[in-house]
């Protein structure tokens, strides 16, 4: 891929990832939504999960279409933007929902399971964001880094559960994201199984 094309694609990705945030800032500052607190929380929460899921789509896409292997250059960017939205989402909870009251938050984490799962999902993302730099990959070594970053699957699942536990029983809004995540999580073992079958065909002579 030409360097100029890569720069163009990366710029477009930055713009696309920042647009929802710009919209939220616009809506909040000009007070154009009825419930700004809920608007910030729900929008940033949704985009955290969506961006995390998009980052999880990259490896399956590369396995299915080797011509798209350049997508790997975008995985860290999407992951870090997911962490960015997750951080804003978490800060909204701390500042606007809990009013910086520590005992309220501890109470919530203990009693309300959707908060418990949300906090868990966020805490899982922190070491991933912290070790996202090239320096960290080198320091940890490829294998350890890969092992640590498998936590992203758990973070995405916790995030999905957090969404289901937040909505009213009977409401099905989280369904679409859940289905996409399920497909992506199942894609990896499925594609690996296909690869193994192609690489080592069993014959009568092999024992």
């Amino acid at each position: 891929m030409k360097r100029s094309t890569l720069i163009l694609l990366k710029t477009a990705t930055w713009v696309a990832c920042l647009t929802p945030m710009a919209l939220v800032v616009y809506q909040t500052v000009l007070n154009t939504t009825p419930d700004p607190t809920a608007n910030i929380a729900l929008t940033t929460g949704y985009w955290t999960l969506l961006l995390l899921i998009l980052s999880l789509a990259i490896t399956p896409l590369r396995l299915v279409a080797p011509r798209l292997s350049w997508l790997i250059k975008f995985r860290r960017l999407l992951g870090l933007f997911a962490f960015f939205y997750g951080t804003v989402h978490m800060l909204t909870y701390v500042a606007l929902y809990s009013n910086f009251n520590v005992s309220t938050m501890i109470d919530d984490i203990e009693k309300r399971r959707f908060i418990t799962s949300g906090v868990a999902a966020y805490l899982l993302l922190v070491p991933l964001a912290a070790t996202s730099t090239t320096w960290a990959i080198r320091k940890l070594g490829g294998r350890n880094w890969n092992r640590l970053h498998k936590l992203v699957y758990l973070a995405a699942i916790c995030g999905c559960i957090h969404y289901w536990w937040q909505v009213k029983p009977g409401v099905l809004s989280p369904m679409r994201l859940t289905i996409v995540l399920a497909v992506l999580l199942l894609a990896r073992p499925a594609l690996a199984w296909v690869k193994r079958r192609k690489a080592a065909p069993v014959t009568a002579e092999t024992v």
Partner: protein
């Protein structure tokens, strides 16, 4: 080549105003839909809210109203725009902005309210009869949703007790049940949620007879917009908003506590009484505070009042009742 001279256009060729306004609305809708589809599929529905922003559409008819001593004072009214575009009416979709978009299909005329069950004589009231039965009062009430947001709404109606007195309920009737309109062919979004329709709510007889319980026909001096529960609903201001059933078609007097939709959906979250109570948490969030709709993000949060501030008028009905048990 045939070039028609200006002024030769027959009147049959002139598009009537309703049609071209509808076509513009269609084009706006089509463009915003296309833009939404064009962008990253799952996240793009947020973009369409910006491209085709909501406009406040005032409901049709002005209502003749009188002042009421039961109105709430000292609160800033929530804007008409917010009251009519931030709704929970799941038959029309589970998003807060869905009812404003979709409730246009609700057929509010003809409309009747059946009164049945333990009454001397079952009756059917036409909506226009109900509108003329008593003087319509302006009643400002606080409205507190169980989701911990609140509004201040200038409703129009009269006390439900006035209608109940006309219905001759039998002494055996201890509860009143309300059933909302439901038609799966009209309310196509109802299966976005896993809820058993029609929407059912209920009150104890003394709660139904309380002067605050409002048989409601309008807001801001005009008939209710569809998304707010047209053409007739009840408003029970000291309880969480889901008790205030919308678009009522049946009022039934019963002996036993009637089933109510949210209690059936999640009995540990939504009780029959559902009085606004900052001391009794919802299992998934605290009810100590609420977010006032329409205010900037730094000014929304406020303390929730016991019985939504209507304790003077209603607390006596619950004397001796453990409100933690009977949530």
């Amino acid at each position: 080549m045939l070039i028609s001279k200006p002024g030769n256009i027959p009147s049959s060729e002139i598009t009537p105003k309703e049609h071209y306004l509808n076509r513009r609305a269609f084009m706006r809708g089509a463009i915003s839909s296309a833009a939404a589809l064009g962008a990253a599929g799952l996240g793009a529905e947020r973009l369409s809210e910006v491209i085709a922003p909501r406009t406040a559409v005032k409901a049709d008819t002005k209502l003749q109203t009188v002042k009421s001593p039961l109105t709430t004072t000292g609160e800033q009214l929530t804007s008409y725009e917010d009251i009519t575009h931030y709704n929970n009416f799941y038959e029309f979709g589970v998003g807060k902005s869905d009812p404003a978009k979709n409730a246009g299909v609700l057929p509010t005329r003809p409309w009747t309210v059946k009164v049945e069950g333990m009454v001397k004589q079952p009756k059917t009231f036409d909506i226009d009869t109900l509108l003329k039965m008593r003087p319509l009062e302006d009643r400002v009430y606080r409205h507190r949703c169980v989701e911990a947001w609140s509004m201040v709404i200038p409703w129009v109606g009269y006390s439900l007790s006035e209608l109940i007195n006309q219905c001759d309920p039998l002494p055996k009737a201890k509860f009143v049940q309300f059933l909302s309109y439901y038609d799966k062919h009209v309310e196509k979004w109802a299966n976005e949620s896993d809820i058993f329709w029609p929407y059912s709510e209920g009150l104890r007889m003394d709660e139904a007879m309380n002067p605050l319980t409002l048989l409601t026909f309008g807001l801001y001096g005009e008939t209710l917009p569809n998304q707010d529960g047209a053409p007739v609903r009840i408003v029970v201001p000291w309880k969480y908003g889901f008790k205030s059933a919308k678009s009522i078609v049946t009022i039934k007097f019963v002996e036993k506590m009637p089933p109510t939709t949210w209690n059936e959906q999640a009995p540990n979250e939504y009780g029959f009484y559902s009085n606004v109570n900052p001391n009794v948490d919802h299992p998934r969030w605290s009810q100590k505070t609420e977010r006032r709709i329409g205010l900037p993000f730094y000014a929304q949060r406020r303390t929730t009042l016991m019985f939504n501030g209507y304790g003077d008028e209603v607390a006596s009905m619950y004397k001796g009742m453990d409100l933690r048990k009977y949530y």
